[in-house]
Subunit: 344 residues, 2 copies
Amino acid sequence: MLIDQRKLPEVTEYFDATAFDDMLFAIEEMVVRGAPSIGVAAAYGLAWEAERLTRNTDPAHFLETLEDRAKRLKATRPTAVNLAWAVDLMIREAHMLFERLNAGASRRDLEQVAIELKKLAVEILNEHIEINKRLSDFGAALVADKAQILTHCNAGSLAACGWGTALGVIRSAFIQGRQPTVLVDETRPRQQGARLTMWELSQDNIPATLVCESMAGHLMQSGKVNMVIVGADRIARNGDTANKIGTYNLAVLAKYHDIPFYVAAPLSTFDADLESGACIPIEHRSEAEVTSMAGVQLTVSGARAYNPAFDVTPADLITAIITEAGILRRPFKESIQSALGLSG
Amino acid sequence: MLIDQRKLPEVTEYFDATAFDDMLFAIEEMVVRGAPSIGVAAAYGLAWEAERLTRNTDPAHFLETLEDRAKRLKATRPTAVNLAWAVDLMIREAHMLFERLNAGASRRDLEQVAIELKKLAVEILNEHIEINKRLSDFGAALVADKAQILTHCNAGSLAACGWGTALGVIRSAFIQGRQPTVLVDETRPRQQGARLTMWELSQDNIPATLVCESMAGHLMQSGKVNMVIVGADRIARNGDTANKIGTYNLAVLAKYHDIPFYVAAPLSTFDADLESGACIPIEHRSEAEVTSMAGVQLTVSGARAYNPAFDVTPADLITAIITEAGILRRPFKESIQSALGLSG
């Protein structure tokens, strides 16, 4: 059961995504969104599907069918790496469990595999929440008393399956008594800031003010922003960061105004295979998301629109990356390498 | 009769603003908007009011009453200087006409004054259109073949009572065969780009793509923007420019990406009394413009929002200012002084 993030904040409605196609739909249509959350959702989707396959599929085709499902999940949203990360983890586990079986697995064997995969999905979820809290504690140390923090999109408990990354840092700072106030970018075209971040902050009674993306420069120019914190969908080995469209604007503006710009993300957001952000695939979504809103046409009929869902912020605009392994600073290539335990 | 800009592009409806209070409402509620257009609308409002006063007011109180109306008009929208400019021009003319009369003006004298004021309003309108075309021709010379131009808000014929300033430049370049394509910022929170600029461009068959403000950096980073052109609501003597909120973001982003950033505005937009942009009053509008759209609530109920309608772009981010007196370049203090015919 997922909170239907398309319907917040008007109603808190749940979406039943135990059937695999429902989970595919939920990820594609953003019933569930946020890089860590879609990773965990995909893991659950695969676990439930594995259970269903134990009843309906020839054991000889079990792995192959599960891999087909994994491929379909990974194709839904190409930018966030956590989706691929969680799916690959599940598939690797399935392979490992199969290798332990004798040739010709019985249906009972499959049931055991499905149970183990469910355990792994639950583990991924619980570990994510732990990790969020750990990185939020590191990040909270960067928040000055009464800091005015600008954030973009939603990197809270909805996006990160509990607690949150960027919003987790703010939440932890608030609990520690730092009295932060938050400026929330509405985040066009899907209003994740207006709908989701404002909702989470109001649930926690953290003072928040909704702003439009167009106001960021003016807010910084008039001294109303002390720091910017955002989440991430994929981080390359050199620190280049893909995140919700509009993040790069904020990074350039923060640099120009000499305001610290932080990215908060778990290590599972890093893509060790990518040297730099240049190769991060950018998802393009439907033009209708820009030309209409809540069923209301916003422009002339037949208008063309452009709708990249993410942008890439080069590492040199990022002050630090807040992870569960601590605050990573420049030079990022070295600090990321060490946090991920990679060899040079 | 004004085109009701609140209702475009769904319907082309006219708003009858011959009664003075209707014109006040029209300017305040943005039935008519755009710095030059509200100046001309205010001049017409005063001219019609003068005619009404010839029938209803003691000639001894005529000027005083007209000045009260002028004050109320100027209080509606504080940022654009054209409103004050046009209103002051009308009031100065009324004073001059009165001075020519013998003491104790007759009702017939008043009628003559009202006729002259109407003539002046028509002149202001016609001159604005002429000026727009002149500055657009200067500006078109800056547009390269097949240039991809990013613009913000609406600085077209709706904003500038015919032809347009920023959009006038694009229109003239298009007519001259330069084949520009336009990226149109939707311009939150009132969608003037989505509603008005997209409408004007589609009327003229100029290729246009709607984008969100959040996409500007990404568009520039991916080489999709060759130049930025915007209008202006008020320009100080040093070139600092107030324009629709979000303009300053674009100027910083353009500077960072080494993309030329042009302001197009008639000389009536310059405020010779202002040394710099620091003193330009910024209009703040209702929070509801940010928290809801087309009657749909966009965020949690009771949410606070911030809604400055304009921002100020410092002169050092502006490549050139396109006026009817030619292209003004740095150092702006000198080029503006010379264009306005001011002494140092």
